[in-house]
Every structure is written in structure tokens, then in C-alpha cells.
């Protein structure tokens, strides 16, 4: 998914409610270069809808989503701004 020498960046938005996980993701992505892989950790079930929707309108790609019990992970590839 990411270049071998590029570590995956992480946003930990666990315990936050909508829209804060989206805001934290947005703020982090602003600091990242295109192609960076960002993993978002959240516990808000709304994030499964909201973060992909935010990525769609900004052109970023959601590579993976997983949901185990109350823990949610989304993996995003940052696009050109």
C-alpha cells in the first residue's frame, strides 16, 4: 500500500464522536503529502459512513475499513490536494 520507506501515519480518534473523527482526519491529511497512507482509529460507528464520504468529496481513497466490536479502522491513501 505504501512505499517501503514510508511509515503509515496514524490518527487516533477513539472515544470521539462525529464529526470530530472526520475533523481529526482532515487536519492530519492537510499535513501529509500525496500518496501517504493514513490509518484512522475510531470508535464512533458514524465514522464508517462519514470518513469515506469526506474522502470521496476530497478525492482521497479509502483502501480498507474494518470493524471489530467497537473498534473501527480505516486506511486512507492521501491524494493530491
Amino acid at each position: 500500500m505504501s512505499a517501503p520507506n514510508q511509515p503509515i501515519k496514524i490518527v487516533d480518534a477513539r472515544g470521539l464522536l462525529c464529526p470530530l473523527p472526520v475533523i481529526r482526519t482532515q487536519e492530519r491529511i492537510k499535513q501529509l503529502t500525496p500518496g501517504t497512507i493514513l490509518k484512522v482509529l475510531t470508535t464512533d460507528p458514524g465514522s464508517l459512513e462519514d470518513i469515506p464520504a469526506w474522502c470521496r468529496v476530497h478525492g482521497h481513497t479509502v483502501l480498507e475499513t474494518s470493524h471489530e466490536h467497537h473498534d473501527i479502522q480505516l486506511v486512507i491513501r492521501v491524494s493530491r490536494k
Binding site: L17, C18, P19, V22, Q26, G46, A53, W54, V57
Partner: protein, 334 residues
């Protein structure tokens, strides 16, 4: 949504801005409460952005917004809703985006309609919002522009005034007709219904918080907790926040290291936080109330675990409070 589409129809690039104040109804209680069989509620702003095909910037203004709630220059609406100050603040914040986030835009547009809302959307308030926000004539209201003097984008020919509208009044019929023309079959919630400050019960809880602390102030956690659980204040110096179902209990559990908390040991029951400074006698009273909301409410005696914010725990044996002992006036917000 309509205002943005009206301007988009003229070939103008539009981006959306949505603000998080902490008082947003948007999905919070829905996310917290344990509704296993329901899909999460959509975020309306994101949904609208997708329908319009525009970028959406979601901005956290919760800290700066305190001043709007605590000291509204134009006063409150029916409850603690400072709608006019809120609009002024949000338009001003949108202008700041151009400076802080380097978003290059020529003017700001809103979906306001003269006469739509009794407090903030009146003919007299429109120029106040434009002036006090600092937007002045760079603030365009495409849906009621024909009832207002031409703005800079209209005078400069960036926007064709002839293709704007002159809606007014409380009826949303013209908007619905326009929505139909644009092919929109679904709309976001009308303004006002998306803010807890317009809610009487919530506003009463916020007033209670200020009164109990003898201070008109709040932190983000305070206003989030006002959205959750039963709030019962049996004594002026403390209240209980009692989870009503598993999702709320789970959310409240995230605050265990900030509050003394109680849970019934022998029976299934809620998690409760104590906000305030209870005495030992108060803790027993609190435990009896929490027991009242557990499945052991009919028991003669049961054990309640009381844990401090630092993790020290002890069990106390109490008799669950009888329904007639729970004073109606203790229920905060009603």
C-alpha cells in the same frame, strides 16, 4: 444546498463549510445509544456536499464558540440559542478560512431567506450579519437576493442577479419547488433543528450547570455529557448522570477517570457519574438512586460499587429508592 446549487448553475466553483460547535445534534446521541439494528445516521453536511459534488471543510470552533453562547450581543432566542450572533460568528469564521487555510474565494454565500426564522432571518438582521461578520457586500443570499440590495458579486457581474431568487416568509414551498426542479428528492434538516441550544430541555440542563457551579462557563465535556443519560440533582452541590442503556453506559465509562462513579454490583444496571462534591451521606443517597434504575430495584438491599476518579473502590449496601421518594424536581431539564 439550494443556495449552493443556484450559484453552481452559473458555473461558479463552490466549496462548503460546516462548523462543529459542540452543540450539534448531528448524530451524537444516535452514535452513542446502542441501536444495533439501525444504520448510523448520516452526516447531513457531508451528504449535501456529495449531492452537490463539492468539497466540504468541517471546522472545529467549539472553543471560540463559547463566547457566542455565554455573551451573545444580540441575545438569545426562545431557549439558549444565540442564533443571530451564531450566524455573524460563522460567516466571520468562514472569512478567516481564506486567511488561515489559504482557501482562495471571492465571496461567501448562505441559504438564508428573509422572514424564514423569527430571530435570525429577518430583513433587519440581514445587514447586521453582513456588517458585523466583516463580510459586508461579499455576503450573497442567492435565495432572497432580489429582496436585498445588489452585493459585490452581483455588481461586478460574477453572479447574474437575474438568475437569483426573491423568496421570503416562513413557507418553504418555493424552496421545495426549486428543489424539485433541481431533482433533489431529499433534504437536510431545516435550520434550527440541528442545534441543541434550540432545545428547551437541553437549555434547562445548561442553565442548571451554570447555577450549580455559580459560573457561566463550560468545557466541551460538560456540553457533551448534557446530551447523555438521565440527569438527577438531588442536592444543589451534586448531580448524577445515569446511563439509560448500554451505549450510554459505554460512553459514560470513558469519563470514569474524571468523576466518582457508581454501578450496582449484584444486578444488571446503569453506570452513573457524580458531578459535584458529594458528602458520604450524599454518596449513599446517590447509590440508592442508581439502585432504583437497576434490575434489582425491587430488592430489599443490594450492593453498589462506588469508585473514585483515581480508582479507589468500595462497596456499600443500600435499599433501592422507592419511586415516590424520587422527587420530580430532581430531574434536571424537565
Amino acid at each position: 444546498m439550494l443556495a449552493a446549487r443556484v450559484v453552481q448553475e452559473q458555473g461558479i466553483h463552490v466549496e462548503g463549510v460546516n462548523f462543529f460547535t459542540g452543540f450539534c445534534v448531528e448524530g451524537h446521541t444516535h452514535s452513542i445509544r446502542d441501536r444495533k439494528h439501525e444504520k448510523p445516521k448520516r452526516n447531513n453536511a457531508l451528504w449535501v456536499a456529495e449531492q452537490l459534488g463539492i468539497k466540504l471543510h468541517i471546522i472545529d470552533i467549539s472553543e471560540d464558540y463559547k463566547d457566542v453562547v455565554l455573551h451573545p450581543r444580540h441575545g438569545y432566542g426562545q431557549n439558549l440559542n444565540p442564533c443571530l450572533d451564531c450566524k455573524i460568528f460563522m460567516v466571520g469564521k468562514t472569512l478567516e478560512l481564506g486567511l488561515i487555510d489559504d482557501l482562495d474565494f471571492d465571496f461567501v454565500l448562505t441559504g438564508e431567506v428573509i422572514g424564514q426564522r423569527p430571530k435570525s432571518q429577518r430583513r433587519e438582521t440581514m445587514p447586521i450579519i453582513a456588517k458585523e461578520s466583516g463580510a459586508n457586500d461579499r455576503l450573497l443570499r442567492p435565495l432572497c437576493a432580489l429582496n436585498l440590495p445588489p452585493t459585490l458579486p452581483e455588481r461586478e457581474g460574477w453572479v447574474n442577479r437575474d438568475q437569483l431568487f426573491g423568496f421570503h416568509g416562513r413557507s418553504r414551498k418555493p424552496q421545495m419547488e426549486l428543489a424539485e426542479k433541481f431533482g433533489f428528492s431529499d433534504y437536510a434538516q431545516p435550520a434550527g433543528g440541528c442545534c441543541f441550544l434550540t432545545d428547551e430541555t437541553y437549555s434547562n440542563k445548561l442553565r442548571d450547570l451554570w447555577e450549580a457551579r455559580d459560573s457561566r462557563d463550560y468545557q466541551l465535556d460538560d456540553i457533551m455529557l448534557l446530551k447523555i443519560g438521565r440527569h438527577i440533582r438531588p442536592r444543589p452541590h451534586f448531580k448524577l448522570i445515569i446511563g439509560r442503556e448500554e451505549g450510554e453506559n459505554r460512553f459514560l465509562a470513558g469519563y470514569r477517570n474524571q468523576f466518582t462513579h457508581l454501578v450496582v454490583t449484584d444486578y444488571p444496571g446503569p453506570l452513573a457519574l457524580i458531578d459535584g462534591s458529594p458528602t458520604t451521606t450524599d454518596i449513599e443517597l446517590a447509590a440508592r438512586i442508581v439502585a432504583r434504575y437497576s434490575q434489582g430495584r425491587a430488592a430489599d438491599k443490594l450492593l453498589v460499587t462506588v469508585a473514585s476518579a483515581t480508582g479507589l473502590t468500595r462497596d456499600i449496601e443500600v435499599t433501592p429508592m422507592a419511586p415516590n421518594e424520587l422527587e420530580p424536581s430532581w430531574h434536571v431539564g424537565s
